[in-house]
Amino acid sequence: MRCASVVVGALVALLSAGLLSCGGGGQSSSEIAAKNAQTVTVTGGPDNNYANGLFTTVKVCAPGTSNCQSVPNVLVDTGSFGLRLLASSLGTLSGSLPKQTAGSNTVFECGQFVDSVVWGPVVSADVTLSNQTASSVPVQIIDASSVPIPAACKAIGPSEEDVTSLGANGILGVGFFISDCGNACTASSTANPGFYYGCAVTSCSVISEAVNQQVQNPVALLPKNNNGIMIQLPAAANSSPAMSGWLIVGIGTAKNNSPGSAQVFAPDQFGNLQTTFKGNLYAGFLDTGSNAYFFLDSKTTGIPNCSSSEKGFYCPSSPVNLSATNTSSQGSSTVNFTIVSASQLFSSGGDAVFPTLGGPNPVTFDWGLPFFFGRNVFVAIEGRQTPLGAGPFWAY
């Protein structure tokens, strides 16, 4: 299969049509590169050291103006909600985006990921994705330089403040929830998880934040094609230096995003589906922001952990073929996957796409980016109607 060279950041449909997608759902490039699609690529990222990182370019503008910045190398993340961009990636635009206020205070956010926090002001921006523009979206600027990170935020985990620690210029959270924290952050400050702060100069304290003020999944605020997304990546059996695919906005709203016979997996209240592995039931989830199959532990899986520099991944002495079953009210779907030793995969250097990368994960099944290779995966936004019913759900 021939692959044309990747032109990252092509926003114009005409340019996009010139790309060959290497495999994928049987549609021609011109059909896919319609008005609601943009290129996503699996590369090593801005520091050329990311494994299975899915990146795209996002354009942001000061609301209602043509004062804009296209930011490349933004991580596409179905496991989070909302757009976050390093101040350094925005250049002069950073100072032109209106800051959200709470009374006389400026609203800052301690954005909480599983392994890190990101700190910075909440601002308003027009966000363009897949040739569609959402107006006045609450967005987080990652910037720890002007207002120091409060102790309570630092106590949660390491702060990622630059390209080196983030591995990207930003994170585009396009999961099925609209706001990043949800109802929990509307509670009074002593009872909420502490995402949002009101800051007077450099003195900050936790505040309650209404959901429509919270940082939002920009897809939810598009004027149309706003019921979810489809991620389309080609199949891959082996490691490679790069891969190109599509982020399409809308489910069942255009020729290129029909869900067909995709099966629906609705999440529970924590945002998880059910995965059965070796007869036991676990919480599972589909996440482009995780860069491997992360599941369980060495004892349960029988796969040895890597030592030294590949700690955090599995290192079987020879490839292991596995299967697990995701269950929904519509039925079940068995997923077959293979795990190859991470030390072997990383030894050659130069690759960025690793379909057989796996590692441990406490008591959950994290279907990371390799799961998306060779599938059309739909993520439906909570409360939005689709041909498969109302979100939230994943479908594939």
Partner: protein, 157 residues
């Protein structure tokens, strides 16, 4: 009375399953590696209900917190907290890990072993594993040297 029960093991050890619910207005956090009677409270964060489950191998001090987060601290028969698990919004890890938080931070901040999302820290004694997604962090931290004989750490959740 209930305050004192919040973070204390029964001695000598009772080989019975016993559920002792204890509602505390100012609950106490046990700290990894410390004796369960160590009290490290943080009034600003904590308005949690606490319950203690005693098994033959260890005692679980379970706290339910803001936004539906659950934290469990596992204490050995000798009364040492050897493991802590959490699920939900990320908890105050500095408080839970105590003196081990800096070690965790250093290991978690060091250049990635190319791993994206979730942490796997193993410094020899301290092991910290996290996973999950936004609004649902799952984590487990333990000290190898303090895990009681026969306890399978992978079963701790």
């Amino acid at each position: 009375m209930w305050n004192q029960l919040a973070c204390r093991c029964l001695k000598p050890y009772i080989v019975v399953s016993l559920l002792v619910p204890a509602l505390v207005a100012v609950p106490a956090f046990c700290v990894l590696g410390q004796d369960v009677s160590s009290v490290a409270s943080d009034q600003a964060h904590m308005k949690a209900s606490v319950r203690v489950l005693v098994t033959s191998s260890y005692a679980i001090h379970e706290m339910s917190m803001a936004g539906g987060t659950t934290v469990r601290q596992f204490a050995s028969p000798a009364g040492t907290v050897f493991a802590v698990t959490w699920q939900g919004f990320s908890p105050d890890l500095q408080q839970l890990l105590g003196e081990y938080f800096d070690e965790y931070l250093a290991a978690a901040s060091s250049p990635h072993a190319r791993r994206g999302r979730g942490v796997y820290v193993d410094t020899g004694d301290l092991v910290v594993e996290t996973g999950g997604h936004m609004r649902f962090a799952v984590g487990r931290a333990y000290l190898r040297s303090k895990v009681p004989q026969g306890v399978d750490v992978n079963a701790l959740r």
